[in-house]
């Protein structure tokens, strides 16, 4: 019996390697697992940043584990693992719209100490708002996105039209140029109309730019905003019917093949349009999204953040890793190498960065205004209820009034009527 126990102990020691005990700040055996969706572009750029972190923090090893780039799949993965209470990772990349949900569920840790309030001033306000749950920060913004308007600079110039400031201006500009060009293959304005999250983003941009929203705001203006979506297709005829199935990539392809005047999309498409061989190279301009007269432009905030599972045993080390990944130097490297836009405001005045990517100057005021989607743990429920209804309006199946009524009915069922005021808080 004694011998057997000794053998077991010996084997266990072998398996563990020569692990020295102790609570030193950097235990040589600390492995931080970093889960995130695959970034587009050269994976070596992020790896190099992580290697540099390891070099500066001897004893810590960072292991990257990639998830599919589909954000639905990532959300599913995180929810399943975090709900179990023992997440097999120490750092995760979260979409801006998940932070409230994950924080409410108690899945991710407060990062109040990782990024003290004074330092948050250096970041754009939108992402900080999206990452703050009940007065505490739960995620640190990693890179930022916002809806923008792309336009064909050459065609607008040819017809003496300025980039539109309001939605009615955009309709007139599109109609005028389409009438003059007489090209049946040219569309006026393309946007994401498929039944998915992208449609909710654009619908919110239109509604917010009309001084309303999808729930608590002015009902008449909300209906007017939804009606505008439908009318671009059916009344003004500046948008092809196929927009009802369009996502970011399919609209980018239409615009990129020179077949649309205006497009709503995220900033990522810009560098693809400027590539060698692109049909619209040098012909594209970027502007803030239009609004309805009397209201400001209201781009929706996108982007990703870094968060830590509450179950991680290495809160302090992973906090240092977050500070490193969101430092000006690391953000500059990611912006230059992969084209992801920094969340730190002062980088937009950084000559070495802006010199290489002049677009950042145009994006700065847009990111400053970027408005988070409803900041509530109920967001995904809300969005799932909205998607089919807004889509039904776009394809002419429902009137805006019917759609808004249906959304209300569904949400009442999901959250229970007594919870409603809490659920819609801040919408």
């Amino acid at each position: 019996m004694m011998i057997a126990r000794a053998v077991v102990t010996f084997c266990a020691a072998l398996a563990l390697g020569c692990a020295p005990a102790g609570d030193r700040p950097h235990d040589p055996n600390i492995v931080l697992v970093f889960k995130h969706g695959k970034l587009s572009g050269d994976g070596a750029i992020l790896s190099n940043i992580l290697r540099e972190f390891e070099r500066r923090h001897p004893g810590i090893v960072v292991r990257e584990e990639l998830l599919p780039s589909s954000s639905d799949r990532q959300h599913q993965y995180y929810a399943m693992n975090l709900d179990g209470g023992q997440a097999p990772f120490d750092l995760l990349g979260v979409d801006t719209i998940w932070v409230q949900e994950f924080a409410k569920a108690g899945w991710i840790a407060s990062l109040e100490k990782v990024l003290p309030p004074a330092e948050r001033e250096q970041f754009f306000p939108g992402p900080i708002k999206a990452a703050t749950f009940k007065g505490q920060l739960y995620a640190v913004p990693w890179y930022i996105d916002a809806g923008v308007l792309y336009y064909r600079r050459d065609l607008l110039d040819r017809h003496g039209v300025a980039p539109p400031k309001t939605w009615p201006d955009l309709v007139h500009a599109a109609q005028r140029i389409l009438d003059a060009e007489r090209d049946p293959r040219l569309a006026g304005f393309v946007w994401q109309g498929k039944q998915y999250e992208g449609l909710v983003c654009f619908a919110l941009e239109v509604l917010h730019s009309n001084g309303s929203d999808l729930w608590g705001g002015d009902r008449a203006r909300a209906e007017a905003g939804l009606r505008f979506l439908r009318e671009t297709v059916a009344g003004h005829r500046i948008t092809p019917v196929s927009v009802g199935m369009a996502d970011e990539e399919s609209t980018r392809q239409i615009f990129g093949s020179g077949r649309a005047l205006f497009m709503r999309n995220w900033p990522y498409a810009w560098s693809l349009f400027q590539r060698e061989g692109s049909l619209v190279r040098g012909k594209v301009g970027i502007a803030p999204l239009p609004s309805f007269p009397g209201y400001p432009s209201a781009p929706v905030l996108g982007g990703w953040m870094l968060a830590v599972p509450r179950a991680s045993a290495h809160q302090q080390e992973v906090g240092e890793l977050i500070r490193f990944l969101t430092s000006p130097d690391a953000q500059r490297l990611v912006a230059l190498g992969l084209g992801y836009n920094p969340t730190r405001r002062d980088l937009y005045a950084d000559e070495s960065l802006v010199g290489a990517r002049p677009l950042l100057k145009d994006l700065y005021p847009i990111f400053l205004e970027a408005r988070p989607r409803p900041v509530t743990p109920y967001y995904l429920l809300l969005s799932q209820a909205l998607q089919p209804e807004v889509s039904a309006v776009v394809v002419g199946r429902k009137t805006p009034r019917e759609a808004l009524d249906a959304v209300r009915r569904q949400l009442t069922r999901i959250v229970g009527s007594s919870d409603l005021p809490v659920a819609v808080e801040g919408l």
Binding site: K104, P240, Q387, E389, V395, K398
Partner: protein, 312 residues
């Protein structure tokens, strides 16, 4: 139980006499256990979960009895998904069976005509079945593209249409686009099963029928069809079960849109369970789907039994 010599008794070394039936159960118990673990237990767990209101994000976990089922009854979205699913199932399974039958007869004719079996033809036919659904759905999404998709181009070339069809953006067309894709993908599966069935039909029956002066149609109607009936029912069961649970094909193609016109039960359950994490209500949807599949399968088996009783 009548006393008779049993295998169990003769092999019993410990002196315990076990009846043949008991031995049978004993020997089958690992299989029962396996089925219990991988099939019955999860179904039971889902049933149990469907009696709860469980929203992990909000820390809600309460037993609510049949409350979820009451909700289900008044959930328009559920009934719409039911209609969409049954419509999809009826049309796609019918088309797959007909097309599969045609393909099987064609392949059978090819093989019996030349004497040898043209493996290349059989191999080619299963290609759509072999491609992962997510991949073929993406391919079809491009084919359905209204402006530069191949399908509209071909239809335009043969002058069947004058304006491009918005296959996926039109709520009336979208479900049919999904059906076309599903038929393309799974008709070969039906064809293979039916071809295997055709091979088992004794050739001399046809010879005898020809001697009696039966034409091709009469041979098909009175020999091929009745003898193939069990295979047809198996094809129907397989395909119906798959079609009722259809998920990836439609999800990749349309995401359930536009305006929920292609949202099947699986897609609704997926969105409820995994996107919005309503585990209780999502399990209720899954249970409802399970009951629908079980009811349809039982119906087929009942029909098959009646058919077999009539023919014997």
């Amino acid at each position: 139980m009548t006393e008779r010599p049993s295998i169990g008794a003769s092999h019993s070394t410990s002196g315990i006499r076990l009846s043949e039936r008991t031995w049978g159960y004993l020997l089958a118990s690992p299989a029962f256990l396996l089925v219990g673990l991988v099939a019955v237990a999860p179904i039971a767990a889902a049933l149990w979960l469907s009696l709860h209101r469980r929203l992990p994000v909000f820390g809600v976990e309460e037993f609510v009895g049949l409350w979820n089922y009451v909700q289900l009854w008044s959930d328009d979205r559920f009934w719409a998904a039911c209609r969409t699913t049954l419509y999809f199932t009826a049309l796609s399974v019918a088309a797959e069976l007909l097309l599969g039958f045609g393909l099987a007869l064609l392949l059978d004719g090819l093989t019996s005509g030349t004497g040898g079996s043209p493996r290349w033809a059989q191999g080619m036919i299963v290609v759509p079945w072999a491609i992962p659904t997510v991949v073929s759905a993406q391919i079809w999404a491009w084919l359905f593209q209204p402006d530069f998709g191949l399908l509209n181009y071909l239809l335009h070339q043969v002058r069947l249409i004058t304006r491009p069809i918005d296959w996926l953006a039109n709520p009336d067309w979208a479900i049919h686009a999904a059906i076309v894709m599903d038929v393309w993908k799974t008709a070969p599966f039906a064809a293979l099963l039916l071809l295997a069935g055709l091979k088992t039909v004794p050739r001399d029956l046809y010879a005898a029928a020809r001697v009696d002066g039966a034409g091709a149609w009469q041979q098909f109607r009175h020999i091929t069809l009745p003898l193939l009936m069990p295979v047809v029912v198996i094809v129907l069961i397989f395909r119906t079960m798959d079609a009722v649970r259809v998920f990836d094909a439609v999800y990749v193609l349309t995401g359930g849109g536009p305006g929920n016109s292609t949202e099947t039960l699986s897609i609704y359950a997926y969105k409820t369970l995994f996107q919005t994490l309503q585990f209780g209500y999502g399990s209720t949807l899954a249970t409802a789907m399970f009951l629908i599949v079980a009811a349809l399968s039982s119906l087929y088996l009942l029909l098959l039994r009646r058919h077999l009783q009539e023919t014997t």
